[in-house]
């Protein structure tokens, strides 16, 4: 019985894909993925091919769906935080940040200045780390395999920095509602400074390998074109949208964490193709480094967690002396805090685009609804439009250029 239903589901899917040409055997239907190295995760693409040309492309997602939104509804606001790490696994600190900003907006929590600067540092380091993975994997898809190894080598340094601040390489949960978990260790600033000195030379190397490489140009220029209007209507955001010449960056349009105080450019390209999106991200590396060095200069001593005791735990030192502090500590971590009734939407600029958190509170200690507007989900919608009429090999280049993370698509 079960098998029959599965079969029906599949046929239904195929009906929309199969045109008369496919049914008559004129075109071929090919299944790419869900386990294929160039689909950047568990993405299944059903392709209708005419020779090697893609006639129609139907993405099939959900293989990595882990019910994160449902799980978060069953936890307190604090405990739900750990689920966000697991969503977009290349932007863990950014996911933490988006969720925390939404909780802070809903509850009306003020975050101290030092914590704001630390958050900017985290978000930009994470952007570099994510872009390094994008550069490595998307170049690898175009057969530039040494870049992958170089980029992962550089990213390792950033993961060491994340381990320094959060105790974990990836699942940090470092950003918390009201601030950050703890102050930066003293090794942090020298480590970041060393990285800022290290990276530009390496980036220049990668640019030398790719930017004017005739093979790379032939694979990327005029491939996967999407016009600005089309990209906007299909919900594209981030570097992929800026590659089509639309000047939209959430850090500029709706600044958070004090981004309005930083001096940086929003790189724009108007090629609308894979190469333009490549150029935008390569330039974003340098802008992130600019922001990081400004943030290091802004880093002043101070508190890293709000002093509003409704939303912050009591200081550890108080637990041994004060009965009330001990009770508060216990209540805070078990029952959590309550949020008012209402709904908020908090957008942020993740390495992939607009990452938004739509949070609904019902007056209780658990979110009534958490919805993440994830950039990969929306950017992937345009894949079919961009790839039709191209070769299968170009399709692989296009997937690399929109920089999707399947954990972010499926949640």
């Amino acid at each position: 019985m079960n098998q029959v239903r599965e079969f029906e589901g599949t046929v239904d899917e195929l009906k929309t894909l199969f045109g008369d040409r496919a049914a008559g055997g004129e075109t071929m239907v090919l299944n790419l993925g869900p386990q294929h190295p160039s689909t950047h995760g568990v993405l299944r693409l059903m392709l209708e091919l005419d020779g090697e040309e893609v006639v129609r492309c139907r993405p099939d997602i959900g293989f990595l769906h882990t019910g994160i939104e449902k799980n978060m509804e069953a936890k307190t606001f604090l405990k739900a935080l750990v689920m966000t790490d697991r969503m977009d696994y290349l932007n863990n600190l950014g996911n933490n940040l988006t969720y925390c900003l939404a909780v802070e907006k809903l509850c009306g929590i003020d975050v101290p200045e030092r914590a704001q600067v630390i958050r900017v540092l985290c978000a930009e380091l994470q952007r570099i780390s994510s872009h390094l993975v994008w550069l490595g994997t998307s170049a690898m898809d175009l057969n530039a395999s040494s870049i992958l190894i170089y980029c992962f080598r550089d990213r390792e340094r950033l993961l060491d920095i994340f381990e320094l601040i959060g105790g974990q390489r990836m699942m940090t949960s470092y950003v918390r509602p009201g601030g950050v978990w703890r102050d930066l260790p003293e090794e942090f600033v020298p480590a970041v400074e060393a990285f800022l000195e290290y990276l530009p030379g390496k980036l220049a190397d990668y640019e030398r390998l790719l930017t004017r490489n005739p093979l790379f140009l032939r694979r990327t220029v005029d491939v996967g074109i999407i016009a600005a209007d089309e990209a906007l209507a299909r919900g594209m955001t981030g570097a992929s949208l800026r590659g089509s010449g639309v000047n939209f960056d959430v850090r500029r349009a709706a600044p958070y964490c004090g981004y309005e105080h930083y001096d940086f450019d929003v790189p724009l390209e108007d090629g609308c193709d894979v190469y333009a999106r490549y150029r935008v991200r390569m330039r974003e590396f340098h802008q992130s480094m600019r922001i990081i060095s400004q943030a290091l200069a802004r880093l002043q001593p101070g508190a890293v967690m709000t002093d509003d005791r409704r939303f912050a735990p009591p200081p550890r030192s108080a637990l041994g002396r004060s009965m009330e502090a001990l009770i508060h500590h216990f209540k805070y971590w078990t029952e959590g805090f309550t949020a008012p009734q209402g709904e908020v939407y908090q957008p942020t600029e993740s390495p992939r685009g607009e990452l938004g958190c739509y949070l609904v509170g019902d007056g209780g200690a658990q979110p009534a609804r958490v919805h993440f507007r994830t950039p990969s989900f929306h950017n992937l919608q345009s894949l079919a439009h961009m790839s039709e009429g191209h070769l299968v090999a170009d399709l692989v280049a296009i997937i690399g250029s929109i920089d999707i993370v399947l954990g972010d698509v499926d949640r």
Binding site: R5, G62, G108, L232, A233, R234, V246
Partner: protein, 173 residues
């Protein structure tokens, strides 16, 4: 006068009775609109050059079970040129929740509407390809509804391993 004020004034003029409530919370504006007028309001927001809500940033469904009306669907619209965000909110009954699809106005709605259909069971009439997106095609129920149990794995210890094993779906005996 902000762009949001302009938008509300313009919508009030044309759709006097369709706007049921205007909610301001934490500097965000939400318009509660009736399901019947949704498509008309959206068309104005999208195509009226003075309003220019060219981007549908997000679409999310909320389940308020056991309250009535049970469901709400939120449309987050973004006027890029004016840097203004507006949320539309539609309330839907628990039985056969149904809304017109806005994919004709914003193609970006295609997957989010499929997601709301898949996880919350809200039907969007006029959607070109309404089927499950995240859950498998043969899945039963809509997991994000509040009356859909979260489910968990029972923790097995050495003394009760077999007892719990027998309760599982794949138990043979």
């Amino acid at each position: 006068m902000t762009h949001i004020d302009t938008t509300i004034a313009s919508l009030r003029e044309k759709h006097m009775h369709a706007i049921e409530q205007i909610i301001s919370f934490r500097d965000e504006t939400t318009l509660l609109v009736s399901a019947g007028a949704l498509l008309h309001i959206c068309r104005d927001l999208r195509y009226d050059p003075a309003l220019g809500y060219s981007v549908l940033a997000d679409l999310a469904a909320v389940d308020y079970h056991p309250q009535r009306p049970r469901f709400a669907v939120a449309y987050l619209l973004h006027a890029l040129k004016h840097n203004a965000r507006l949320r539309l909110r539609v309330l839907l009954p628990g039985r056969e929740p149904r809304l017109p699809s806005v994919t004709g106005l914003w193609p970006a709605a295609e997957w989010p509407e499929r997601e709301a259909f898949d996880l919350m069971g809200i039907e969007f009439t006029g959607h070109p390809d309404l089927r499950r997106i995240l859950m498998p095609a043969d899945w039963e129920g809509h997991p994000l509804r509040k009356d859909y149990a979260l489910g968990y794995e029972e923790v097995q210890f050495s003394f009760n391993w077999r007892e719990i094993d027998l309760r599982k779906d794949y138990a043979q005996e």
